[in-house]
Amino acid sequence: MSMLLEVSGVSVSFDGFKAINNLSFNIGEAELRAIIGPNGAGKTTFMDIVTGKTRPDEGRVIWGEKSVSLLKMSEAQIAQAGVGRKFQKPTVFEDQTVQENLLVSLKNPRSWLSVLTYRPTAEDLGRVDALAEEIGLSDQLTRLAGELSHGQKQWLEIGMLLAQEPRLLLVDEPAAGMTVTERQHTTDILVEAAKTRAVVVVEHDMEFVRRLNCKVTVLHEGSVLAEGSLDHVTANKDVIDVYLGR
């Protein structure tokens, strides 16, 4: 199976502290993957490296069938190459309407000159409507994003990422602070999204991970501790040690 993203031998340290230590991680097209691990395991740093926010001290990050290295690209270039990222806290443009939020995220030319002269086409507006339908915000299009509930903001952000049409979606703790029904909806959106693209979900909540029903990677102290189905990894003795404390 050809890999979409290959991370191999990556290490990074902050002031002597090794946040990521010789980490290797692969994911293929149209795959759903969950990453779990205790606090400080390096989950967020891992995302930072893939999206270009943090430069690793060593290692390789290879992307796509042309096998380009992501390490030399800026955040914006990586995003344009097809990596979408959702932050832990919902980050949407609160002063703008849901429609504007989605329009600005649509996969269109990103250069400032083309954006300056851009006016939404009927097709774009149609895409926005479809996306709003998908994330369940159809009747909120003209509301300011800042007025939405916490869960709605999370969905809007996922919707914005989907509007980007990424090939890899990195999602950081999407279910935090959600009600049970909201979680269900979030799971549906992610599982649906993973049918056409790779989705990596970082999550603390085992119940949520179980519902995703996918391969799980356990991170600990900056490297991969175990990989496999949830039942497989939870049976692993190392993992139990890490989670229960020695």
Binding site: T51, S74, E75, A76, Q77, A79, Q80, G84, R85, F87, T91, V92, F93, E94, D95, Q96, E100, L103, V104, S105, R110, S111, W112, V115, L116, Y118, R119, P120, A122, L125, T142, M160, Q164
Partner: protein
């Protein structure tokens, strides 16, 4: 579905109409072309105020919309003024010099004329040679181009350096302030090529124009009003579409914009440069009305006042910037010009010339604390008819 830009932004139309009306009324009441109720010096004050409104619009774009508190836009304003001032001063001196040399028995050669102009202009700094930067001063067209190009290039280079190293927030503000200080200090030197702290003077005289200042002041009023109208329209158009969404996004959440695949630095740079050019045009119209420009005009404090105007007027809404600049600068002229009546308070008489800045400083603190939306925020209190917008 797609309505025209004006139709979607009625405030632009209202603003442009009010501006046109204002210009018309002032013209009718002026000394130069009308009833004579408004003195020529006040026409100039009004014209200058319009220019200040234009730079305030530029400031609002970069600060109110994109969230970049630039403390350097008056540097671009001043540079624009210097660029047009070079032509005004050169051409006017040339006419005077040619006139006086033609009185002599032998007609002057080209070299003699240039030598004499150089002596006239640079005598105060003990030189008579034209520095390199005056190479185009004899051409109005080229110097007009430089009005935009020089500040634009400075903004481009500075912005490129600052934005690519991800300097943001207050750090960027301090950096822009440092840039302004560096430019002002440079211009203060006698060998800066721009007459040191003497600056450029006599700019109110248009070379070759025989019309009186009464008339010329009206021309500049009209030009300033037109520039403000055009600048306002351009600014409103820029922020109305997706570009506006992106720059507001940068203000509210820079990382999100970046991870959506937008090159935040390119947007900031484009907007920074655009607003610098707007500021420069405002300056190029302002200083011929002020008559003199010197490096003190560029001092960092001026740019901070600009921020004060925009904050008092109301950030993130273009008309707020215009209101703030017009209101505060006219009030400032009134108070510091000595027209405001002194306030006797028993043992102490408050002289507004002395106390105006204290009042401004304190009211600015109060606005920041209690009315972050500024004067423009008052418009939000007007009940709008729901449904007409969407």
């Amino acid at each position: 579905m797609q309505r025209s830009f004006i139709a979607r932004n009625p405030s632009v139309l209202i603003f442009l109409s009010l501006l046109a009306l204002f210009t018309l009324v002032v013209t009718v009441l002026s000394e130069g072309a009308g009833a004579g109720f408004i003195s020529t010096s006040f026409i100039k004050t009004l014209g200058k105020t319009l220019c200040l409104c234009l730079i305030a619009v530029a400031m609002d774009l970069i600060w109110g919309y994109a969230g970049i508190l630039s403390l350097g836009h008056f540097a671009f304003f001043g540079l624009g003024g210097y660029m047009i001032g070079m032509w005004l001063m050169y051409e006017r001196t040339r006419l005077i010099v040619v006139d006086s040399l033609n009185q002599t028995e032998i007609p002057p050669t080209e070299a003699e004329v240039i030598e004499a102009i150089g002596t006239q202009i640079f005598g105060v700094v003990g030189s008579s040679d034209f520095p390199m930067i005056w190479a185009f001063a004899d051409s109005l067209i080229l110097q007009l181009a430089l009005v935009v190009l020089v500040p634009g290039m400075l903004a481009l280079i500075f912005g490129w350096l600052a934005f690519r190293s991800r300097v943001t927030g207050v750090y960027l503000s301090i950096l822009t302030q440092a840039m302004t200080l560096a430019l002002a200090l440079y211009l203060f030197q006698n060998d800066s090529g721009l007459r040191g702290n003497n600056g450029l003077s006599g700019l109110q005289n248009l070379p070759g124009v025989t019309a009186s200042q009464d008339i010329v002041s009206l021309w500049f009023l009209w030009a300033s009003a037109f520039a403000l109208g055009a600048g306002y329209f351009l600014a409103a158009w820029v922020v109305s579409g997706k570009f506006g969404s992106v720059i507001c996004g940068i203000r509210d959440n820079e990382a999100r914009v970046r991870f959506l695949g937008y090159s935040v630095e390119a947007y900031k740079l484009a907007l920074f440069t655009l607003t610098a050019c707007l500021a420069a045009i405002a300056g190029a119209l302002y200083y011929p009305q002020a008559g003199i420009i010197n490096p003190a005009e560029i001092a960092p404090i001026a740019s901070i006042y600009l921020a004060v105007w925009v904050a008092i007027g109301g950030r993130g809404r273009l008309y707020g910037a215009v209101i703030g600049a017009a209101f505060v600068s006219l009030l400032s002229t009134w108070f510091t010009g000595g027209q405001a009546p002194d306030l006797p308070m028993g043992v102490y008489t408050v002289k507004w010339v002395d106390w105006w800045l204290v009042l401004l400083g304190v009211s600015f603190v109060l606005v920041t604390l209690f009315a972050p939306k500024g004067i423009g925020g008052l418009f939000d209190l007007i009940p709008t008819k729901k449904g007409s917008e969407e």
